[in-house]
C-alpha cells in the first residue's frame, strides 16, 4: 500500500490540529451550528439518530493489518466494539462522542489514516476495483492513479464548496468492478492504438433520487492530462451546477439540463486553458507514487488445482464463490464475507477485525481491501494455503460462501441508525437471508445482486441491484418498493443498467415472499444454469415477474395449490 512521506503525514497531522480547534470553538459557542456542520461533515462526522456517526476514510479501500488493528482498538475504546463497512469502501462508527472525535482522528493519524472529505459538498473518497493490482485482466494498477487523485483532491481550494458531493471512481480493467457508470466522474483505463495509456471519461452518472448512467465525454484522455481535465469538469460544475435546489445540485442534473454534448463542449473550452498547465502529470510523479506502494514479495510458484477431496463439506462451495483469480501464479484473492445471516451487512466486531488482521499478516502480506459490496478481500493468498485459511476464516464467521449470490446483500445502515432513512434496511436483509437459508438453493439460483437502500439517497445502490429494494415512507409507515433488472456491470463492455419498479410497494413482512416469487419465475424461465436472473429479466422483460408477484387472487391461489401439490 501507499506509504506516506513526511509531507503527507504533516498534512494529516495538521488536519487533526485544525479539527481539534474547530471542535473546541464549537463547544465554546464560537461557531454556529450550521457553520460547524459544514466543517465536521468534511471530516466525516454526522449527528445521527442516536449519536454522532464518524465515517473514516479508507482511501480506495486499501488497509494494512496495522491500520485494521487500530480501527479495532478505536471501535473498542470509543465505540461499542464494532464498525460498519460502507458501499464507498469506508468504515463508519455509529456511537462515538463528539468530544472524542479529535482524539480518534489523532489516533488514526498515527497509522496514516484520516476522515478527510468523507462527507460534505466536496470530492469524496476515490473508489476503485477491489482487485486492483492483482486482477489478471487489468490494464493499469488503478491504486496508483487513485492515490494521485487522492492527493489532488485533498483540500483542493477551488473545489471544497461544490454545489453537492462529488464521487469519482476509477477502473484499471475493462471488467468494471468499480461501477464507474454510476459516479459523478467515472474513469476507465484503456490503451489506444499506439499502446499509450489513457482513460475513458464518463460524467454525470449517479444513483439517488434521479438515477442516471454516466455519459462518455471523452473516449481517450491521455494519462498526463488526467488532473487538468478533471479540473475543467469540476470548474464547469462549480460555476454552473444548481445551488437553488439540493435535489438538483448533483453534476448529473447539470449534464442532463445542458445535454451531454453541450456539457462536453463547455468542458473542452475550459480545458483549452488548463491543458498542459502545471497540473499536467509527469512520468516522474507516476513512478514516484508507484514506488511508494509496498508490493508483496511473491514467491515463484505455479498454479495448481486445489484439492477439494477429503476437505469436508463447504470448502468446495467457498472455493467456487469466494476465491478469485490472481495475476501471479500460485496465488489467489479471497473474499471474507461480511454477509452472514443475522449480522447486519458490512458489520465487523473489534475481535473480528483483530482476527482478520492476523489472517492478513499470516496469509496475505499484511494487507486487505474493502469492497463496495461491503466485504473484505485478502488479495494475495497462496493457493496451497487456501484450505487452512478457510478453516480459520470459518472459525471467525467470515467464510460464508455467498459472494455474488442472493444472500450477499448490499444494505445501507437504514432507519436503525441513519437519520435520513425512510425505512429500516438491516431487518429486511436479515428476513431475506433467513428465507433463503438453504445454501444449495442459493447456489442453484446463481449469481444475483440484491441491494437494499433505506431511502432515495440510495447508499445501498438499489438501482443497480439485479433485485433492488427501496424503503419508502407512507403516512409514517415503512414500505418497500421492489425493482428488477439493474446491474452495476462486471462484464466487459456492458454498461451499467438501472432497475425498473415492478409495482406497488410491500410491507416489511411481505418482502421475502415477493422476492421468492421473483426467483420462482426466474427458475422456471431460465434456459440453462448459465442464464442468470438478470439475463432472464433482460430477455423476457418485467411483465412475467410482475404477474407472478401481484397476479390476481385466483391465480395466486392456484400457484399456492400447485406448490403444495409439488411439495
Amino acid at each position: 500500500m501507499y506509504q506516506y512521506d513526511e509531507i503527507d503525514q504533516r498534512i494529516v497531522d495538521e488536519r487533526v490540529a485544525q479539527f481539534r480547534d474547530q471542535t473546541r470553538r464549537f463547544l465554546a459557542g464560537k461557531l454556529q451550528e450550521d457553520e460547524f456542520r459544514a466543517l465536521r461533515l468534511r471530516n466525516g462526522l454526522y449527528i445521527q439518530r442516536h449519536a454522532p456517526m464518524l465515517r473514516i476514510a479508507i482511501p480506495y479501500g486499501i488497509l494494512s493489518s496495522r491500520q485494521l488493528r487500530k480501527l479495532a482498538s478505536i471501535a473498542r475504546t470509543y465505540d461499542r466494539g464494532y464498525g460498519h463497512f460502507s458501499t464507498r469502501q469506508n468504515l463508519q462508527l455509529n456511537w462515538p462522542r463528539l468530544e472524542d472525535v479529535p482524539e480518534i482522528l489523532a489516533e488514526l493519524a498515527t497509522v496514516q489514516m484520516h476522515a478527510i472529505q468523507t462527507s460534505g459538498n466536496c470530492v469524496r473518497n476515490i473508489t476503485t476495483d477491489h482487485f486492483a493490482g492483482v486482477a489478471p485482466d487489468e490494464i493499469v494498477d488503478s491504486l496508483v492513479w487513485s492515490e494521485i487523485l487522492r492527493q489532488w483532491s485533498t483540500f483542493h481550494p477551488e473545489f471544497t464548496y461544490l454545489p453537492r458531493k462529488f464521487k469519482i471512481a476509477i477502473s484499471g480493467s475493462p471488467a468494471d468492478r468499480a461501477a464507474t457508470g454510476v459516479h459523478d466522474i467515472g474513469l476507465m483505463a484503456l490503451r489506444n492504438d499506439a499502446g499509450e495509456i489513457g482513460f475513458r471519461v464518463l460524467v454525470g452518472g449517479g444513483l439517488g433520487r434521479t438515477p442516471i448512467v454516466g455519459h462518455v465525454i471523452r473516449e481517450f484522455l491521455p494519462w498526463r492530462h488526467l488532473l487538468t481535465y478533471i479540473e475543467a469538469i469540476l470548474r464547469v460544475y462549480n460555476r454552473y451546477g444548481r445551488r437553488d435546489n439540493l435535489q438538483k445540485a448533483r453534476i448529473k442534473i447539470l449534464v442532463k439540463e445542458r445535454g451531454p454534448e453541450a456539457f462536453r463542449d463547455e468542458v473542452d473550452a475550459e480545458w483549452a486553458h488548463l491543458e498542459n498547465g502545471p497540473a499536467t502529470l509527469t512520468e516522474q510523479e507516476v513512478a514516484r507514487v508507484a514506488e511508494r506502494f509496498t508490493r508483496p514479495p511473491y514467491e515463484t510458484l505455479s498454479d495448481e488445482p486445489v484439492q477439494i477431496k477429503g476437505t469436508g463439506p463447504g470448502f468446495g462451495a467457498w472455493l467456487k464463490r469466494n476465491v478469485h483469480p490472481h495475476r501471479v501464479p500460485g496465488y489467489a484473492a479471497v473474499t471474507l464475507s461480511l454477509k452472514k445471516t443475522g449480522v447486519p451487512p458490512g458489520d465487523l466486531t473489534d475481535a473480528q477485525m483483530d482476527a482478520v488482521a492476523d489472517l492478513a499478516d499470516r496469509y496475505s502480506f499484511g494487507e486487505l481491501r474493502v469492497t463496495h459490496e461491503q466485504n473484505l478481500v485478502l488479495a494475495d493468498v497462496r493457493q496451497r494455503d487456501l484450505h487452512e485459511f478457510w478453516i480459520e476464516a470459518k472459525g471467525v464467521g467470515l467464510a460464508t460462501p455467498n459472494v455474488g449470490l442472493l444472500t450477499n446483500i448490499i444494505a445501507c445502515p437504514g432507519g436503525d441508525f441513519c437519520s435520513l432513512a425512510n425505512a429500516r434496511s438491516i431487518p429486511i436483509a436479515e428476513a431475506i437471508q433467513r428465507r433463503f437459508d438453504d445454501l444449495d438453493y442459493v447456489f442453484d439460483i446463481g449469481e444475483l445482486d440484491l441491494n437494499i437502500s433505506g431511502c432515495m439517497n440510495a447508499c445501498g445502490h438499489h438501482h443497480v441491484g439485479h433485485i433492488g429494494i427501496l424503503g419508502v415512507d407512507k403516512n409514517g409507515e415503512e414500505w418497500y418498493q421492489v425493482e428488477i433488472g439493474g446491474s452495476q456491470t462486471r462484464v466487459p463492455g456492458a454498461p451499467a443498467a438501472l432497475g425498473r419498479v415492478i409495482g406497488p410497494s410491500f410491507s416489511a413482512e411481505e418482502v421475502p415472499a415477493a422476492i421468492e416469487r421473483l426467483i420462482e419465475v426466474y427458475l422456471e424461465r431460465r434456459d440453462s444454469d448459465a442464464e442468470r436472473f438478470i439475463d432472464v429479466v433482460h430477455r423476457i422483460g418485467v411483465a412475467p415477474f410482475k404477474e407472478r408477484v401481484y397476479g390476481n387472487p385466483g391465480e395466486r391461489r392456484q400457484n399456492r395449490d400447485r406448490q403444495l401439490a409439488a411439495a
Binding site: D5, I7, R10, I11, E14, R15, A17, Q18, Q22, R25, K30, L31, E35, A38, L39, N121, Q151, W152, T154, F155, H156, P157, E158, F159, T160, Y161, L162, P163, R235, N238, R239, R243, H273, G277, P278, A279, L281, T282, Q284, E285, R288
Partner: protein
Amino acid sequence: MATLVKDDRIAIDSWQLLEGGAARWLTVGEDGLVADFAAEADLIAPLALLKVRGEELLGRAGRTGVLLEPNDDPAAIAEILDQLSLVAVRFPKFGDGRGYSTARLLRERYGYEGELRAVGDVLRDQLLFMKRSGFDSFSLRDDQDPGEAIAAFGEFSEEYQASNTQPQPLFRRRYSHAARVG
C-alpha cells in the same frame, strides 16, 4: 463595521461600496439626473453599474473597484482589469463556492494582480481556501474574531495542488526538494 484582513494582517479599509445596488445609481432622480459619485473616494461598484457608468467612475480622481456576484462572469471585466484597483467577490453564503473559481480565473486566466477581496459571508474557516484561490484581502463577517481569523492562514504548511500561493503543484516541487536534500 467589518474587519478587513489584508496580506494576513488587520488593515484599514479605504474602500466604500456603492450601496443600494446598481439600480440606485442608475435611476434618474427628480432633478432629471443620476446621483453623482464622490470624486475623491475609493468606490466599489456593482458590475451592472460599472457597465453603464464605467467611464465616469474610472475618470474620477478616486480609485475604482468592482463587485462581482457569484454568477458574474469575470470575463466581463477582463478588458478593464488594468484600470481597476480592486475586485471584490461576494460570498452570499459561506457554502456557496463559486467565488473560488472566480478568483482563480481572475488570477490565472486574466492575469489580475491587484487587490482581490472576499466580501459577504466570509468566515475564518474558509480563509485559507480563499487565499489559495487567489484572494489577498478579506472583509470578515462582523462576528468574526480577527485574531483567530489570521491564525487560519497558518493551519497548513503544505498543499498538494497548484494554486495561487503555490503556482507549482507539490508533485513538481517534491523533486527539487529531494534534490536539495539529496
